[in-house]
């Protein structure tokens, strides 16, 4: 039933007028992304990922190498508009931390980091339903949505995340369709 994935991948093709936006905006969204900036800010990415998935009794996103994964994904698997939104968002986040707290994100307290992420989560909220999907298609995904998606995916598919955060079966050898949930049972890492 692999086609389920294929179906999920099908983009909603909707009408949506870009004419109302200025030429500058169009250029701004479609410009060549500043990938170098990403490469130079892996520590920032790792810190952001760690704030989303922190170390608890299991490894956090930093140990799982999620910062590097985000860089790879933004570079290779992200459309131009979402790339720009992400990199611009990252720069804006740096400015926000600097003006609000006089610090880099990494140097901020846990409370300040939380406030920062809440600020960007709120701003990045897309409209629900079809309008939201059309927005994402034409204008790219929000900075925070991209950050959180890649952090989660990077963590759950990493060795640390899959084997210590989640529960990973390499070669199950058998299938049991229905069995009691074991105490402390984590979700399976792969399906």
């Amino acid at each position: 039933m692999k086609r389920r994935k294929a179906i999920g991948r099908i983009l909603l093709i909707g009408g949506g007028s870009i004419a109302a936006y200025s030429g500058y905006k169009w250029w701004d969204w479609n410009k060549g992304p500043d990938i170098e900036y990403l490469e130079h800010n892996k520590d920032l990415l790792a810190a952001l990922a760690e704030a989303i998935i922190p170390t608890t009794d299991s490894p956090g996103a930093k140990e799982a190498g999620v910062g590097d994964f985000i860089t790879v994904m933004v570079k290779d698997c992200t459309d131009r508009k979402s790339q720009n939104k992400f990199i611009d968002g990252l720069k804006e986040l740096e400015r926000y931390c600097s003006s609000s707290f006089g610090n880099t994100f990494q140097q901020c307290s846990v409370k300040e980091q939380k406030q920062t992420l809440q600020h960007f989560e709120q701003r990045g909220k897309s409209n629900n339903g079809i309008i939201g999907k059309v927005e994402n298609r034409f204008f790219g995904k929000s900075f925070f949505a991209t950050l959180k998606n890649y952090t989660t995916e990077g963590y759950c598919t990493s060795e640390a995340g899959a084997t210590k955060g989640l529960s990973y079966l390499y070669i199950p050898g058998k299938y049991i369709g229905c069995m009691p949930l074991q105490p402390g049972q984590k979700s399976w890492a792969t399906h």
Binding site: C156, L169, Y175, S187
Partner: protein, 571 residues
């Protein structure tokens, strides 16, 4: 069983050019033709246009962990741009079993995704493995409804051959006693999850006309003919190092090779079938080396075309002679027409409150199946469409991909994504598409591919019958989920292009009358008696069942007939 030995390209000069039989294509039906013909003692040349894929050895990603893939199975933007069609179906772990769209272009007159795997084993490496028999409900449908032409066979003709191929391949499933979805020779069925079992029981309570059964699938639930068992990794489409599912590479080609009657030539593109005007028979095939482009001719007494539905039609259309100016065996003018695919992309899903303390172990490469329940008899007759659909679905707990939709971050968010989420039941229909004359494959008169062969044009669209059925698919999915106690039920109907089910069929159809069909009841060309075609192109109608099992049975049956005719001196 040994691995099929590939004839080295360097020694083709020394190869005999005459064989008893030639099989074009090594996918799911070509593999069967190779096995049957070789086991019956025929010296058989198997031609594959793609590279060799040696069983186990060439499954390069089969043992890799998710974190060993740089993009964790995602396709890159560059790959998607270069492969807009194949990227629809493949991922970072199995893309080496799909063609490059750039190297293998075709023309879509209307959107149609043509998913291909040019290699030894073809798409049998990456197929969905669902196996369902057709029944007389399917074989009689065209005749009863006056659509297209009548199938030249009935269920009794193919039933023993279903038994035969199932016994070799190994199909797990559960007997249900349905006349319109006949039971087969099954290995033990796989388990249902708690919520699937619940759904199945409730469906039987609420609906007298339908059931939910475990999928019938070509994965081995016990060791079988030296293969398997399935290890429940659900990584089948990377190739299985345990031979846990049926593929040409794991099963039929090794059996053919074991006879020492098979010569397998890879990187060999069949350009055309050579027609002998004097003998009124096919003499052989003209083959182009995919790398050197050198053309060689091979000759045989019988030829099986198993290049896949679209490619087989293209080979016939390219095989022009004085007697067949419109393509080999095309006196009916039907070659290339009546292209079908199952439609998919409509269905529903819902959540279930309950079984919070239940889970499952292992990764089942299979789902559940709701066999067709429309237009089975007078009581289930629809006014708005003919034929029907079957749902494939699964009931599992949501995992991190779905749980990540929740708001927030930090410790609570982490806990959410690491814990099993609510149970959901998801179902999507595979629906029957009627054979329409205008849905067709043709050759472009000007444009050529990298081998100088005419580009294939595909013109395909769904009609009102499919559209009306989709509506019912969506509504019925919602109704079934709601009536059986699911919450947050959502139904969907995505506009998915033809070809997406990867069930192309019908371009060289079987029929009783040479004036309106290309093949007879034994998959033998009406016009050219020593050519047999047993891939999806032979299908007279599509049914709604996943079709590969039927190709296998028709192939074994046609081989039996062909060899007996050969021995009698009739061909």
């Amino acid at each position: 069983m040994g691995d099929p030995k590939q004839a080295n390209q360097n020694i083709t000069a020394n190869l005999p050019h005459s064989f008893d039989a030639i099989v074009v294509g090594s996918g799911i039906s070509g593999g069967w033709a190779a096995k049957e013909l070789c086991e019956k003692g025929l010296k058989t040349l198997v031609l594959e246009r793609g590279r060799n894929v040696e069983h186990v050895k060439d499954y390069t990603t089969a043992f890799m962990h998710p974190w060993q893939f740089p993009h964790r199975l995602n396709n890159t933007i560059k790959f998607i741009e270069e492969n807009p069609v194949q990227s629809f179906a493949c991922n970072e772990a199995n893309k080496h079993f799909f063609v490059s769209d750039k190297e293998h272009p075709y023309i879509q007159e209307k959107p149609f995704v043509w998913v291909r795997g040019y290699q030894v084993g073809g798409r049998s490496l990456t197929w969905g493995r669902q196996c369902y028999r057709l029944s007389d409900l399917d074989f009689e449908a065209n005749l009863k409804e006056g659509i297209a032409v009548d199938w030249p066979i009935r269920y009794r003709d193919i039933a023993p051959w279903y038994d035969y191929v199932e016994n070799f391949a190994g199909i797990s499933g559960k007997a249900e006693g349905l006349a319109h979805l006949p039971d087969g020779q099954f290995l033990p069925p796989m388990d249902m999850t708690c919520v699937e079992d619940y759904f199945s029981k409730k469906i039987r309570e609420h609906f007298t006309d339908r059931i939910v059964t475990i999928g019938r699938v070509a994965n081995l639930t016990k060791g079988w003919n030296g293969r398997g068992p399935c290890q429940f990794r659900n990584l089948c489409d990377r190739g299985c190092p345990f031979s846990g599912y049926f593929s040409s590479n794991a099963a039929t080609l090794p059996a053919a090779a074991a006879t020492h009657n098979m010569t397998l030539l890879t990187d060999s593109i069949v350009v055309e079938v050579i027609f002998d005007e004097q003998k009124n028979k096919a003499a052989g095939v003209r083959v182009m080396d995919a790398h050197t482009k050198k053309v060689t001719e091979y000759f045989a007494k019988i030829i099986f075309l198993n290049a896949s539905t679209v490619a087989t039609a293209a080979i016939l259309l390219s095989s022009v002679s004085k007697k067949f100016p419109d393509g080999l065996g095309n006196s009916s003018g039907q070659v290339g027409h009546n292209l079908m695919d199952h439609f998919l992309g409509a269905g529903g899903q819902g959540e279930y409150d309950g079984f919070a303390d239940q889970y499952y172990y292992g990764r089942r490469p299979n789902g559940v199946y709701i066999p067709r329940f429309r237009n089975i008899n007078e009581e289930t007759k629809r006014k708005d469409y003919v034929r029907g659909f079957g749902y494939q679905g699964m009931g599992v707990r949501m995992e991190w991909r779905a749980n990540a939709q929740a708001d927030g971050f930090g410790e609570n968010y982490k806990k959410d994504i690491l814990s099993p989420g609510p149970w959901t039941m998801w179902m999507n229909a595979w629906g029957e598409t009627l054979p329409y004359f205008d849905n067709r494959v043709t050759l472009d008169v000007d444009k050529k591919d990298g081998w100088g062969l005419p580009l294939i044009r595909i013109n395909f669209e769904y009609h009102d019958n499919e559209k009306a059925m989709r509506k019912d698919v969506k509504e019925s999915a919602g109704e079934m989920l709601r009536q059986t106690g699911f919450n947050n039920v959502q139904t969907f109907d995505y506009d998915i292009p033809g070809g997406a089910a990867v069930h192309e069929m019908g371009t060289v159809r079987m029929g009783r009358d040479p004036k309106t069909s290309v093949l007879n009841g034994f998959n033998q060309m009406h016009d050219v008696k020593n050519v047999f075609i047993t891939d999806g192109s032979c299908m007279t109608s599509a049914g709604c069942q996943n079709p590969s099992l039927t190709y296998m049975a028709l192939t074994a049956r046609a081989c039996d007939y062909a060899v007996s005719e050969l021995k009698k001196g009739n061909i």
